[in-house]
Subunit: 329 residues, 2 copies
Amino acid sequence: MSVTMRDVARAANVSIATVSHVVNDKQGARIGEDARRRVLKAVAELGYQPNALAKTLSQGRSRFIGLVADAIASTPFAGQIIHGAQDEAWRQGYVLLIANTEGNAAAEKEAIAMMLQYQVHGILYSTWYHREIEVPPPLQHTDTVLVNCYAVDAEYPTVVPDEEQGGRAATEELIAAGHRRIAFVNTTSPSPAKTGRLAGYLSALEAAGLEYDASLVFEAEPAQEGGYAVAASVIESGVSAVFCHNDRVAMGLYDGVREHGLRIPTDIAVMGFDNQEVIAAHLRPPLSTVALPHYELGAAGVRTLLGIGMERGSSRLLVECPPIARASL
Amino acid sequence: MSVTMRDVARAANVSIATVSHVVNDKQGARIGEDARRRVLKAVAELGYQPNALAKTLSQGRSRFIGLVADAIASTPFAGQIIHGAQDEAWRQGYVLLIANTEGNAAAEKEAIAMMLQYQVHGILYSTWYHREIEVPPPLQHTDTVLVNCYAVDAEYPTVVPDEEQGGRAATEELIAAGHRRIAFVNTTSPSPAKTGRLAGYLSALEAAGLEYDASLVFEAEPAQEGGYAVAASVIESGVSAVFCHNDRVAMGLYDGVREHGLRIPTDIAVMGFDNQEVIAAHLRPPLSTVALPHYELGAAGVRTLLGIGMERGSSRLLVECPPIARASL
């Protein structure tokens, strides 16, 4: 898998000792300019990474697994992915090397380079919300699993939440509670969550023999402000229940519903999505929702990287989003 | 600082090669039972950690800094500490090795042992909320900085938020907005946040020449449910403003205030504490609050560990909690 100093020496037509001197920038070693140039060229072309870690480790690769996260400081989502990945890594005898990039491309590049230098066994590349990405080129130098994200034009093992199943589960909960006219407040942001949860909503309606009414599907910014803004339209539509794209939208909708003098769930039932910490369980009334399985995404990402339990031939694992019953329906 | 194989050899009165054979459990090496026992005894007594990392690293210690966090999955607080620590570590040429324990003692012990095996330059031991801890014994084997926590009976460099200054800043904001009768909803949980924020509230009142009225200090569970439960009493006290122990309490208080038909800030001004992501900026109206400086705690922890910028002789760094103005007063 990984390029060795021997490969570089062969490509540059020099000895391994010469490669070592150049790569380690040894003082006092006399290396001709031409040889030095050839070594550096071969290093660049082959993508060779100097080994910063133990040559005393008997394995060719370390017991490190890298995890690149894009936003651990702003939501608990990445933290839950990390928690799951770390638990599973430890169970398998690996140590998780975590880098947080906060979406900064330079930090990401540096993080991946560092991980490759430390000869990680492989890298989990994760995003805090489910989305399409372009895979950073250096990731081709190691085993990579995409967690909570996916690439269209590249073949990487991928672990993502099953948005459609989640949207179906949310709608089924409302149907099971007796509702027949159910609004769906979707997000304005194009995303697999947007298309997947809508597909789930539609399939649940169909399975229950309920007719789809396009006027009951709304769009809102996926935050409290969006939920608040759409509340009047939802109420006006005359539905008895609403499935919100996420818990933050539901929280804003709560405010709007209250300002109209209506009560939840008596006048209108509300279903969220995400089971977001700090919010979902603590709204008034506590919010019924569907959990995003971040912990399990991280754990399954590690298992996939280590070749444990994934079906042969499958490169995309869909993780279930379970419904969480509380008091809003 | 760290115990070497040579130290073990001397204590056990054997050669370094013998120590190496025992420690690395070499097959085929003939070590007498007595010598083996002496080596293992010396290893245990001296707290020797075998070097799992590169002997090729020219430094005695690695470029790793360990960070032990207790809860990265349930709040964004630990994530912000990690973000700050990582940015600063990278600026200084170090790599952060993060372990999340979720409060599990066995996981914590294992995490610290792993970090010592990887010969971290030192360890930041952090908690997601500011509190007293007992320092895990293995931390005496490396440089340790306590972040967002402190130990009473041990001398470790400590980086914590300035709770008293934060409480004073929150109260001053309300005073500056013209309020004279200001309630304080403190937490029921004994903690430095409880005593510090109260001290800040009192000192701000005193500095403004306002008399302290003990009947205006309430206690509530530090969550939405607590804020909701205390709302009626706060309203009954006839104050024009309330400083809440944290943003979650303020969020619950918002619900209670609304149910009494009162408006924020027209009828009652509300100040939070924490500047908690996902909540503070998205309440209706957006919540004025005081920020807990988690990012800066992490960054300052790394600087302290590396001996950068901390005043000589000072072993406790108080980090300022800045007020954040929004629309609730």
